[in-house]
């Protein structure tokens, strides 16, 4: 059995209608039947007492003269009143004088007359009327007994009528209720259907049919407005989704194009790299050979014909030799720079302090007479290509070594500073330094801030250093002042320099 709470609303409404009208009808019918019964009883009582008084009055003479025959005659007149089932006249001594009907068994009547008055006893109406000659002289008593069949019949009839009326009224209430409940239930059912349609089909374009101007109408209107808003938002959502999809498609297309461009670029780069490779290879082999001849035969000239030449001639030949050797150094340095760009990167943990100590050891062995003070911070390390990082430190430390050549108390330092959470390495010296005006020229190829007679060099070293630092995702910069020394700072961001592959 479904609990009342879960009944469909139509059934609930019908039940409520029937319950209320049934209750009202029942109460009304009960009141009506009760009233009918009470009225009937009263009337029956009144009728019997009237009858009693009439018979009592008529019986006065018969009793006064103890005329039994007359008395019987008078009682026999009760035949006209079929509801009187028994009657009896008692004399002053209380002896039964006459009875009606004549064949009535003696024990059907009370032996002595009961108390005066009319009352309902044992489903019958019983009455005792005094029979008196005058107002004060009592002679006898009249006993009357009437059945209440009429009352009962009337009560039954009323009950039947009541029941029929209730039934008809309930039927009418049911029919009417069925017809009228639609006014309440239909809009609710329509709302329910609409909501169901929205939720199952995700179709926000459906609308509940409009109903009257009552609360249900307001509810329907509000619901429809809500649907309209949802539909609008849904459409906006769909539109933005479509737009988004379009944008994604566009972006994908764009990315594909860019990828294609990148792929082309990579192919071009690869081709360029291969070309550069071939170029460097042939430079390495072919460009040096003529230099060797120039130098070699100049030396041959000096050896074989030196005595025949004057001082100027020999000096010229020496200059030819010096320049061919310088050219060879330039070529070598350029090849190194090219190699730094071409070579594959192998990322590993690199002990920079150890490398620095190693280089410093080489420098000191090469020129033990130079009193250079070194300060190398211990435990400095970075992730990168150890071979390339060695080239960096080699260039920077050799530079410092070179440019402190004229310093009375040369000092070279390798350490780090931690600026902004970023590890910054530095190589500092107190050598010749440079003018900050030209700081941006330091790292250009063949850019030199000193003449070859001051400090020799090709101007490729720092370009090589910067190329390596860039390949490690880092930056390099310098600070200095003329005759105040120079400090070179660099960072290494190994995360961006993946293992292997030229970046």
């Amino acid at each position: 059995m479904i609990p009342l709470r879960d009944w469909p609303i139509q059934r609930k409404l019908t039940a409520i209608f029937l319950l209320i009208s049934g209750l009202v009808l029942l109460l009304t019918s009960a009141a009506f039947v009760t009233y009918q019964v009470i009225t009937l009883r009263r009337m029956t009582l009144k009728d019997l007492s009237t009858l009693g008084r009439v018979i009592a009055t008529n019986s006065t003479a018969a009793l006064a003269f103890a005329n039994e025959g007359d008395a019987r005659e008078i009682l026999a007149a009760l035949r006209a009143q079929p509801h009187v089932v028994a009657a009896g006249l008692y004399d002053a001594t209380g002896r039964l004088f006459a009875r009606y009907p004549p064949d009535l068994a003696a024990d059907s009547l009370p032996a002595t007359p009961p108390v005066d008055g009319y009352r309902f006893e044992r489903g019958h109406l019983v009455g005792v009327e005094p029979v008196a000659q005058t107002a004060n002289a009592r002679l006898d008593s009249l006993y009357l007994e009437s059945d209440v069949k009429a009352v009962r019949d009337a009560a039954r009839l009323t009950g039947i009528i009541g029941t029929v009326v209730v039934a008809i009224a309930l039927l009418a209430a049911y029919v009417l209720g069925r017809a009228l409940q639609g006014r309440i239930a239909d809009p609710i059912l329509a709302l329910t259907e609409t909501a169901k349609a929205v939720s199952t089909r995700q179709d926000y374009s459906v609308r509940a049919p409009p109903s009257g101007r009552d609360e249900l109408g307001a509810l329907t209107d509000t619901f429809n407005q809500m649907l309209a808003r949802i539909e609008e938002q849904d459409r906006a959502l769909r539109e933005s989704k479509t737009e988004l999809e379009q944008r994604v498609a566009d972006r994908t297309q764009e990315l594909a194009e860019r990828n294609e461009a990148l792929r082309r670029n990579a192919a071009e780069l690869l081709a360029a790299n291969t070309e550069l490779d071939a170029f460097a290879y042939s430079v390495s082999h072919d460009l040096r050979a003529p230099l060797r001849s120039i130098d070699g035969f100049s030396q041959v000239l000096l050896e074989d014909y030196g005595p025949k030449l004057d001082e100027a001639g020999r000096d010229s030949l020496q200059r030819v030799r010096a320049n061919s050797q310088r050219m060879a150094t330039l070529i070598d340095d350029l090849l190194k720079l090219a190699r730094v760009t071409r070579s594959e990167m192998r990322t590993e943990a690199v002990d920079l302090s150890a490398i620095a100590r190693d280089i410093v050891g080489d420098l000191q062995r090469a020129a033990p007479e130079r009193p250079v003070e070194f300060a190398i911070a211990p435990g400095l390390s970075a992730r990168g290509d150890s071979r390339l990082l060695r080239v960096v430190l080699e260039n920077l430390l050799r530079n410092s070594w070179k440019y402190t050549g004229n310093q009375a108390r040369p000092r070279i330092e390798f350490g780090s500073t931690g600026g902004n959470g970023e590890r910054v390495f530095m190589v500092r010296d107190n050598g010749a330094g440079f003018d900050m005006k030209y700081a941006d020229k330091l790292f250009g190829v063949f850019q030199r801030l000193h003449t070859a007679s001051e400090f020799e060099g090709t101007g490729v070293g720092l370009a090589t250093v910067r190329r390596i630092i860039t390949r490690h995702g880092g930056r390099i910069w310098a600070e200095g002042a003329v005759d105040q020394g120079a400090t070179f700072y660099f960072t290494i961001v190994t995360a961006r320099a993946g293992p292997g592959g030229p970046s």
């Binding site: 082999h285 072919d286 035969f297 041959v300 030799r321 050797q325 190699r339």
Partner: protein, 147 residues
């Protein structure tokens, strides 16, 4: 001093002249046979047109890498492939010090790799060292006599 001869594989006549001079200036008087390219070198070592090679193999081969027709690496490969010459001392003497040349050279079984210095004084020194080492110090495996 070893009486053996030297096979110099070199296409640059200047380099040939300078090498000869450098050797001579250090009194290395061994015979120097010059091959001007890889083909000539192979012809000398293995004979021309099905002919046979020299009676006695050179004490050392000084091999340039960048050569016309057949390059130095190929010559080295042939030398190491042949039963008779597989133990022949070969010194690569070239202009380049490209890493891959060095690696390839040693991988193919070169005994030494020397870069020709531009400075002729250094070059002379290198030639002297080479001569002294390969002709005097080094004891080569005895090459099988030609049948």
């Amino acid at each position: 001093m070893n009486s053996g001869h030297i096979l110099l594989v070199e296409d640059n006549s200047d380099d040939v002249a300078l090498t000869m001079r450098a050797l001579k200036s250090h009194n290395i008087t061994n015979e120097v046979i010059v091959a001007r390219d890889g083909v000539q070198a192979l012809e000398y070592l293995f004979g021309k047109d099905g002919g046979s090679g020299p009676e006695e193999l050179p004490a050392v081969v000084l091999l340039d890498l960048k050569l016309p027709r057949v390059n130095g690496m190929e010559v080295l490969q042939r030398i190491r492939a042949e039963e008779r010459t597989k133990l022949l001392p070969v010194v690569i003497l070239t202009s380049s010090d490209e890493e891959r040349d060095v690696v390839d050279g040693y991988s193919l079984g070169a005994n030494s790799y020397v870069r020709k210095p531009v400075d002729f004084v250094e070059f002379t020194q290198a030639a002297k060292q080479l001569g002294l080492y390969w002709l005097l110090m080094n004891r080569a495996a005895v090459a099988p006599r030609k049948k």
